[in-house]
Amino acid sequence: MSGFTTILRKDLRLELRSGESTITLVFLSLLILTVLTFALNAPGGDAATAAGALWVAMIFAGTMGATRALIAEWENGCIRGLLLSPAERSAIYCAKLVASFVFMAVAELAAMVLMVLFYNLDFGIRLVRLSPILAMGALGFAALATLLATIQVRIRGGDLLLPLLIVPVFVPALIAGVKASNAALAGLRFDAFAQWLKILAACDILFLAGGYLLFEHVISED
């Protein structure tokens, strides 16, 4: 895939210099975790609430901030350059997807630490089991968001539309992710929640394949 590494390196370098996506995502996650504590009236709740809060933070922070790398191309007028370059459309998609995933992964790591602090959990093997679940969720979400953000950026008021498009499609990954996260935080091993991991993997494959195949139909400079 020509252009993939070039575009990805550019986005990562930009992010290293400005940090706008990652830092915003971290702060949004912190905000959402705090609001949920007030809203659910459960300060220092339990592991089940913790996992749920983490996923809510992932979804809504991700909806707002994960696709900055892609949207900035339109705002800066760079999208025409990208489309005229010899880079394949699928390469653009994969590069943007991986960039969004990296930003979300960093934010998830920070959110996980916050979760441990807020919900009085332990740093230990349970977090190690939790990490791949969060990674799979972030990957699927990034795949969906990168595809649908191209729609958002072309419509007036599209940022209001994006959650309505992403969240229902993401529901199975959310269900599976929260269930698996609950199990991981409760100390269960992988085989106890294997079926949820399978569903999460199926969602990831579906979103990645869908995005890869359909991206060229939605990307355009206007």
Binding site: L144, L147, L148, I151, R154, I155, R156, G157, G158, L161, L164, L165, V167, P168, V169, V171, P172, I175, A176, K179, Q195, W196, I199, A202, C203, L206, F207, G210, L214, H217, V218, S220, D222
Partner: protein
Amino acid sequence: MGIKAAHWLGVVTLAIMTAAIFMVFVYVPTEAQQGNVQRIFYFHVPCAWAAFAAFALVAISGVFYLWFGHQVWDDLGCAAAEVGMLFCTLVLITGSIWAKPIWGTWWTWDSRLTTTLVLWLLYAGYLTLRAMADEVSQVGRLAAVVGIVAAADVPVIIVSVRLWRTIHPAVIVTRQGSHGLEDPRMIATLLVSLAAFTVLSAWLLMLRFATLRAAARLTNLGRQLALTEAEMADRSAQHVMSSRR
């Protein structure tokens, strides 16, 4: 697909629907456990069938639109989404009306209800996209992509929601699997009602589709007219220029 064909389909719809209503309210016996409220079942299930079938049609026309590029497929997808949204809303409303006297609650997170709610949200996203993207030139392609992703997601949603509910302790025990229809009259009524709603949704679809096709033809005519006018203005300008020499 003209308006005339739609009129004939309308007549057929009226006939079958009248038969269905008669069967639901007069012919079929009252169900032993639930009483007369159970009759809403004969409207509720066909609405659900219509909603899911329309969604499949949205996805299929999306694929064909991306493949062939002909506006006809986009119009079909749009019409199917609107009809499907109508029936999906009816499923949720009739379901709630049925649930309240039987289960004592308007809503429960039963796997079928939850899946239907998510389907409703998918429809809402699709239609909101169409409404907001009206002035974008390639709204058909965007809508097709959203429709395809959503429809491909539906089987995964069904599986995950079902798994989610069976592991959770059920607050309210619902009848999964077969509907437990013992009396053959009930089965006959259900089949007639299914036929009635299928024909009804096909008729509504055809009406909406014909309207969209007419609008597309009108837009094309408008474009042709503008082109012709421009051509004529150009020619007359050239005529004036050459006659001045």
